[in-house]
């Protein structure tokens, strides 16, 4: 299914790079150029772009106000003026899903950025400074000893049902994975000759870390960020579904699904469509992640 990986050996580690990652021939840049030829990645990114566009244009694309109740139109089957049907309050499912996309993508994106930031800071500290390594990694181990969803639910229980709390909870849950990945890259890069050379030139730690180590640790980080986005979208939906996520008044995919569950027999479309929306988004992200990994970091292939 995936295209053969014939471009191995050009990622971090094998290339003594001393260039910044914004420069045109950094390994990440080179990899990203190749992404265009990877069928998986292109399919994934196209899917995400479509979903992103519909989320951004939700206001214009929605035929109805997602919160507008029309009791005479309740539980209408798909077709006619409501092409995804209506729910038990006569609200248009299509409009609700479009607005739900905003929330899902916002949460996913925010969690991705926060976990990446945490991954860079703690992963670099842990991988580069030996003294901090043990302490940081034990804390990460402990955080990963909690089943992810359960930890998120527990954090939501104490913080209260707000969208921003969902972001906080999921970032806490998923950050340790990113920290581990950055740490592993830093450990590998630190042992390379060119870092020794830079150190011999009396470069400071900050300079070494941000200018010489981080650019070469970016490839696995980008891949992980894509998967974290996917996990976050799934987890947000799960939290909302069990009633521990975004407040029930917000049209999120998990909330729509959760409300529709009661009417599953009479009106299965209330649950089918938001589920498809979640699956399509996560599929897009997973395809993009798989494609990126094949191109950027063939060794990480699972």
């Amino acid at each position: 299914m995936s295209e053969p990986v014939g471009l191995a050996g050009t990622t971090q580690g094998s290339m003594p790079v001393q260039r910044g990652w914004l420069e045109s021939d950094s390994p990440l840049r080179q990899g990203l150029r190749r992404v265009r030829h990877n069928r998986l990645a292109v399919t994934g990114f196209s899917l995400i772009l479509v979903i992103l566009a519909s989320a951004l244009l939700a206001g214009q694309l929605s035929p109805y106000d997602p919160r507008m109740m029309t009791i005479t139109d309740r539980l209408k089957a798909p077709g006619g003026s409501h092409w995804m049907g209506t729910d038990n309050f006569g609200r248009d499912i299509f409009s609700r899903i479009l607005h739900g996309a905003r929330l899902s993508l916002q949460v996913g994106l925010a969690v991705m950025l926060l976990t990446t930031a945490a991954g860079i800071v703690f992963g670099m500290l842990s991988g580069y400074f030996r003294r901090l390594d043990n302490a940081i990694m034990r804390v990460m181990d402990a955080m990963m000893a909690f089943p992810a969803i359960l930890l998120a639910i527990a954090i939501m229980a104490v913080l209260g049902p707000k969208t921003v709390n969902v972001v906080i909870a999921l970032s806490i849950v998923y950050a340790p994975r990113t920290v581990r990945i950055v740490r592993a890259s830093v450990l590998a890069i630190k042992a390379l000759d060119y870092i020794e050379a830079v150190r011999a030139q009396a470069a400071g730690h900050v300079r070494i870390l941000f200018r010489h180590v981080l650019p070469n640790a970016l490839s696995p980080l980008v891949v992980q960020a894509t998967f974290t986005f996917a996990y976050a979208v799934l987890a947000e939906a799960s939290l909302s579904f069990v009633g521990a996520g975004t407040p029930p008044t917000t049209p999120s995919w998990g909330n729509i699904l959760s409300e529709g569950r009661v009417y599953m027999q009479a009106a299965p479309w209330i649950t089918i469509f938001p589920g498809l929306a979640i699956a399509a988004t996560v599929l897009g992200l997973n395809l993009a992640g798989d494609g990126l990994r094949d191109v950027l970091d063939p060794r990480m292939k699972t």
């Binding site: 181990d141 992810a148 969803i149 527990a154 229980a157 798989d290």
Partner: protein, 314 residues
């Protein structure tokens, strides 16, 4: 080997201590006075004070932790505010159902994942490979609760083959128990099956490229004998290491699936506890599941040491 076991056992201690600290601090993350939040607006100042004393909230934080930990080590996880009975009792009552669900899901995911991955690797780049890999990437993208609802709609509502909810302990009525567990276990285990299939495939492909496999083939050993006897055994090593992690994911994921199938496990209890702001119960459930998770991971690691002799020298 003994030193490996001892090292691994000692390594668990700091993790467990940190897990305990995190679970303990959970209640202190509550914005405002946890006692007030838990009891709601109707509570009298006396009731709030009583709960504060009961939870030890009027003492200093380290003092509270020591007292709390001492009780936890004795198996006392406190009183559930809403149920009005010991948390340990309530949790242990629900635990067997969730464990059965998680174990059955794990068995399902291994039974489906490993052969599928094997097929995909042996017939790489054929239709079979494409089918397995496409199903697998679909599998890791579909939310378990949605799959559960879809399976319920087809197999319970439309076809009437399997019950849409409820629970019968396997030791009371194995057949009925299996029937009630079937749909929840499949919806919960599907994603792990997909992950295991992907991992088995790539691990098999890696091993099949190794010199010793080629040598065995060139010496005239049959293709399937090489695949199953020589390659498969080694390809399973990375898969086995993920079983512990998979179990943790299943244990956590059970929360969501239990809601779909009105399954009386830990998950439903936790969700109810969250809605009622019953923090001791949430805290206890979190602590219990993570201790189980750590224990399972430890067991897998130790078994792994037995199966893969190379680990001794590391």
């Amino acid at each position: 080997m003994t030193s490996y076991i001892i090292r691994r056992l000692l390594g668990v201690i700091p993790v467990l201590v940190l897990v305990a600290i995190a679970a303990f601090l959970l209640i202190h993350l509550v914005p405002g006075d946890p006692a007030m939040v838990m009891l709601g607006n109707d509570a009298t100042p006396q009731q709030i004070q009583q709960l504060r004393t009961q939870l030890g909230l009027d003492r200093s934080l380290p003092e509270q932790f020591v007292l709390w930990l001492r009780e936890v080590l004795r198996g006392n996880l406190g009183e559930s505010i809403f149920l009005g009975r010991p948390v340990t009792q309530a949790l242990l009552e629900r635990l067997p159902a969730t464990m059965q669900l998680a174990v059955l899901s794990l068995i399902f995911s291994l039974l489906i994942g490993i052969p599928s991955g094997l097929i995909a690797a042996v017939w790489q780049n054929t239709r079979w490979d494409q089918l397995v890999m496409a199903t697998a990437i679909g599998g890791i993208s579909v939310p378990s609760f949605w799959l559960g609802l879809a399976l319920m709609l087809v197999f319970s509502v439309q076809l009437g083959w399997l019950p849409s909810g409820g629970y019968t302990p396997l030791w009371e009525d194995a057949w009925q128990g299996l029937r009630t567990l079937m749909l929840p276990a499949v919806s919960l285990g599907f994603m792990q099956a997909a992950l295991i299939a992907r991992m088995t495939r790539s691990s098999m492909l890696e091993v099949l490229r190794q010199d010793y496999v080629r040598t065995a083939r060139s010496r005239g050993v049959g293709r399937w004998l090489v695949i199953l006897k020589h390659a498969f055994k080694n390809a399973m090593i990375p898969v086995i290491t993920t079983i512990g992690t998979a179990f943790g994911v299943l244990l956590g994921g059970a929360v969501v699936v239990e809601i779909v199938f009105t399954f009386p496990g830990l998950g439903r209890l936790v969700v109810l506890a969250v809605q009622r702001r019953d923090y001791p119960l949430v805290q206890g459930a979190l602590l219990l599941t993570s201790v189980i998770y750590v224990a399972v991971n430890l067991a897998v690691d130790l078994l792994y040491g037995v199966f893969d002799p190379r680990i001794k020298y590391e």
